[in-house]
Point group: C2
Chain length 309, copies 2
């Protein structure tokens, strides 16, 4: 009888730490438990240590999913993490247990979860784009996560979609894809549209200050058939399309998985058709992510278990 | 005594077939030989077969470098190859010998050669950008070539650097990076510049039709301190910079290797400084390729030898 190796997957979020036991196929084998994220780095360390001890006898390895860039050794978080306490970057996660502890960035964990057991299951090269306030990404190809030289690859939100310093991004740079095609991008499209589109004069939002128009206002206005909102929304979709076509030509994925708060507004079949018409490297499927809140726990577990082979 | 495995590396070009025996570190162990590329696919097949027979007893594996996209099994060229005869795509290269034959796209072979024994030697993640009439690319990271789902990844020349259908590319699409930052791109910058820059009126080329200004005219004009040419050239360099910054954020390379006919015009130290100021994932080195005409032969050999392990 073969022993199936098991990981303890732990997702460290800004408000909750969520954990469970997961096998190499991404199946969750235990109840999923949650606890509030403590306020200091030392308390986070202690909480993780207790969670590991509680499950120690049932697991072979520990996988952690965290916000922030992770070092190439997968032992530390090295970039700033606004929702986690100062001192968090000083934690050497490998000292949490005598069993192997493997930490990975949450966006990378998510693409692994989607590629192994979510929307990208069965595809060779899965590109994930997470469309929220900003845009994040990940690529899992031929069974491997693409990490780059320092583990910081797939900062796709910073890809430039204009080359004439047209629009400043919240990061201080110009023309980042996420300043056009994220949730923030949709607001920016509304602001620019209010200045340039005739339709604004007859819009349901004509009396609102353009900078006060929310993403909700626009998507709601589209439902209500407001011509201004439709034009803004179509522009936003076009910006998303431009970035996804470039990434398709760059990575030659056979599946693009879209996740994040804005993904429910995207007609993936139409996006897929448009990408396949434009890209030089057809054919790609476009799908919505399936693993949602469990993506971090599952992806971290799969990656940790890979280390044992 | 360990036996060092050897490959026969063959570079199939539109005019010449070039070959030699190469080890896994990219060292060339034999004289490099050349022969004219025959005019039919059948003759190319026969020529390759003869070259392999001639070297059969000295080699363990055969690596071929070819223009065109290669299938995921590395046995056939599947895209159009304008400089090679019709029927070329019908060749199953694996039938050339009872020893393993491995074919790879020339751009991919080049990045492997540069990463293993050229300008990118010793770096973790090497991004190569070949700036010629168009722009090609490749990524070699953590000892692996990134190929994508069908082997067509790194079509970086098709990455869009504008999102408003500003300039048509020779491929028929709009705003491809290569229509702004390749040799063709430099000509396009001159045409646009002639329409928009005051400096054209006093340029040494003021009496030339803008579409007749060549890349040589511009680089020569820069040498002669012509204000128009300098402005056109600086714009071209900026477009190149925009694409390279996006690719840096996407791949997190620690080394970018630039090759191709236009690379001699680029101040790589200045480009490196500018990329490191702008990218969200510092620090990258920018270097000029070193393996030049031997890149295909060397890279194909290294890849073929990797198959034996």
């Amino acid at each position: 009888m073969t022993h199936t190796k098991k990981a303890l997957g732990i997702d460290i979020g800004g408000t909750k730490i969520c954990y469970g036991i997961v096998d190499g196929n991404g199946n969750i084998l235990s109840e999923i438990k949650k606890t509030s994220t403590p306020k200091t780095a030392q308390e986070i360390f202690n909480t993780l240590k207790n969670i590991i001890e509680e499950n120690y006898k049932d697991i072979d390895v520990i996988g952690l999913s965290s916000a922030g860039a992770v070092n190439l050794e997968n032992t530390r978080v090295v970039s700033s993490t606004p929702n986690l306490p100062s001192g968090y970057n000083d934690i050497d996660f490998s000292t949490l247990s005598d069993k192997k502890v493997y930490v990975e960035n949450d966006a990378n964990c998510a693409v692994v979860a989607e590629a192994v057991m979510g929307a990208g299951k069965g595809y060779h090269t899965v590109l994930m784009a997470t469309i929220g306030t900003g845009i994040g990404g990940g690529v899992f190809s031929d069974g491997q996560l693409f990490r780059g030289s320092k583990g910081n690859a797939l900062e796709v939100g910073s890809m430039k979609i204009f080359a004439d310093k047209r629009q400043k991004c919240t990061c201080g740079r110009y023309d980042c894809w996420e300043s056009y095609a994220s949730g923030t991008g949709l607001k920016n499209c509304a602001i620019t549209g209010a200045q340039n589109y005739e339709e604004f004069k007859t819009s349901i939002y004509k009396d609102k200050k353009p900078q006060d128009i929310t993403t909700y206002d626009i998507t709601d206005g589209v439902e209500k058939n407001d011509a201004f909102c439709i034009r803004v929304f179509e522009q936003w979709l076009y910006y998303m399309f431009v970035g996804l076509v470039s990434l398709t030509d760059i990575f030659n994925p056979d599946c693009i998985v879209i996740s994040g708060g804005m993904c429910k507004f995207i007609d993936v079949q139409k996006m897929e058709d448009n990408i396949n018409k434009e890209s030089v490297v057809t054919n790609v499927k476009v799908k919505i992510a399936q693993t949602e809140n469990l993506a971090g726990m599952i992806g971290a577990s799969i990656l940790a278990l890979k280390q044992l082979n």
